[in-house]
């Protein structure tokens, strides 16, 4: 039902077009460099869109979204390495496990509201990192290395990278449609109400604790799969990479840059940020100052443009509000 309703709106097809561009562009002329850059962009879009479910819709800052990504990576790499599971099943298992864990924790910590929730997500990062560093089946602080032979079932390393890329684009597409579908559903309306005024929402009959726990859990699923893919691709995982503060922060910057609460904005923000970052990393002056630049960018947005890119576009071209969600 919801799907049919969505398909009648132009925005549904705009997303489809974006996914098609991502899938086709690098295959023209076998452009590996473009593929790697788009892979990162797809990863940013996935992480930021799912973060946006919490941040933009429900108004809850999750400083620990990286936990989903890292745990998903660990579960997937571990299943592939120790139990020789095929990649597809490992990814699915990673998504389901992390979602279930998030639901479990979510019912606990989401009873905390506003700032306290944000603080406890910082704690979750520390707790999960401490857990993985001490958990011997996951190699403790030295992590897990995958042998080169794991790419064999996917047709060798060269072919496997293309398979991974297409799965990542699919995950990105799923994230965009998920954001869009939630925004157009009753569930999303409830979340937006929570974001506006949690007490009022509760009084009007929105089951706030349940909705918050659900969205927390839903926002964990696709990032966990993305994490599995990412670390499968690099064939190596260790706690400091898996729970890297930088990526967590970048998702926040991206979501704020594009405009929290919007689907288009977050995707646009992710793409722009990836391009900017690619430039910064190659320039020798800025390579060491990536965190500084992310921080400065975030500060400027928070201080002067709290609506982000889409806030600017909406105010300049009010008509776009009807088309771009």
């Amino acid at each position: 039902m919801l799907l049919l309703r969505l398909m009648r709106r132009p925005f549904f097809w705009i997303i489809a077009l974006a996914i098609a561009v991502f899938a086709i562009a690098p295959t023209i002329g076998n452009n590996v460099q473009l593929r790697e850059s788009l892979l990162l962009a797809a990863l940013y879009i996935t992480l930021a869109s799912n973060l946006n479910l919490m941040l933009g819709y429900a108004g809850y800052i999750n400083f620990g979204s990286i936990v989903f990504f890292g745990l998903g990576g660990y579960i997937c790499v571990w299943l592939v390495n120790s139990y020789s599971w095929p990649l597809g099943w490992s990814l699915l298992a990673a998504g389901v496990c992390v979602s279930a864990l998030a639901l479990f924790f979510g019912l606990g910590i989401l009873r905390l509201r506003g700032a306290f929730f944000a603080l406890s997500t910082i704690g979750i990062v520390e707790a999960v990192q401490a857990f993985t560093e001490n958990f011997t089946p996951w190699g403790g602080s030295s992590g897990i290395y995958l042998p080169g032979s794991i790419f064999a079932p996917l047709g060798g390393a060269g072919h496997a990278l293309w398979v991974i890329y297409f799965i990542m684009v699919a995950v990105m597409g799923a994230s965009l449609y998920l954001s869009y579908a939630i925004k157009s559903s009753k569930f999303g309306l409830g979340l937006l109400a929570i974001g506006q005024n949690e007490d009022a929402a509760a009084i009007l009959g929105v089951p706030t604790p349940l909705y918050k726990a659900l969205v927390y859990s839903v926002s964990a699923f696709l990032p966990a799969i993305a994490g599995g893919l990412y670390f499968f691709k690099s064939a190596f995982i260790q706690p400091s990479d898996a729970f890297d503060l930088t990526l967590s922060t970048e998702s926040l910057v991206v979501a704020m840059l594009g405009g929290q609460g919007t689907v288009t904005g977050v995707a646009l923000g992710a793409y722009l940020y990836e391009e900017l970052r690619g430039y910064l990393l190659t320039s020798s002056t800025f390579a060491n100052f990536q965190l500084v630049i992310s921080g400065a960018l975030l500060l400027l947005i928070v201080l002067f443009f709290p609506g982000g890119l889409m806030g600017f576009i909406y105010s300049r071209f009010p008509r776009t509000q009807k088309v771009l969600e």
Binding site: G59, I61, G108, G114, A118, E126, T249, L291, A296, L297
Partner: protein, 288 residues
Amino acid sequence: MLGILASIIDGVLVGLVYGLAAMGLTLIWGVMDVINLTHGTMIVAGMFGLYLLANALGLPPYMALPPVLVGGFFVGVLLYWVAIHRMVGRPPLMSLLSTFSVNLMLVGVGTAVWGTALFNVEVSVPGISMGRYTFPGAHIVAAVLAAVIAGSLYLFLQHTRMGKAVRAVANNREAAELVGIPTTRVLAITVGCGVALAGVSGMLIGTLFPFTILSGDGYQLKGFVVTVLGGFGNPVGALLGGVALGLLEGAVTPFVPVSWTLVIEFVLFVLVLIAFPGGFFASRRGAL
């Protein structure tokens, strides 16, 4: 048995320093409802202030205290104007984001300059022996200094004109403005004091343990736990909360690996928040 007792006494000593570290956080939180996410990095800044003054300039370690205190105050006032001034009165999530982004910049500059290597400042103060156990002198001096600084903060808040203004602003900003208190200046000074406290506590922690540029996260988390234990915006409660946390650490360390203590503290944080939303030692709102 004596081992556990010694461990507990040491926990209290270190806990006083944690309490001091949390005081700056809870002061800012209580007065303007802003959670300062640069707090951990300001603690680390204190540690590096100590390192530079003691190791590079060759000052005796405890002589680093006055410069760190004064420097921290000015850094805090600057922080207020850059990141907090426009956020006061807006949803708390915005100030979380703005202080978070300043923190990123500071951590970014710090890691670019110093890397993530371990730093250490040698402090030689004779310890006090009790049977087979020796309490490190550095722990005792740090605890005494922390108690003295915490006491002076209490006196400042209770008995000076400025301190009373801070409490008035915490209680009701509009009313304070109406009776002629320059609230903006008071807020800036409050952030200055909060950051100065963070710096000093960092300096004291630096005399106890080795540190890296990223140590701040752990101490910031401890700060939240202490704040929650002690009640929000309650500096005296923060000191008690710090001691409670130190006791817990002292009692727990003989039995579990060190890297788990942070997890245990975090679980405590969530449990206390759920069970006592106002904080454990919070007797009344606005204890400032």
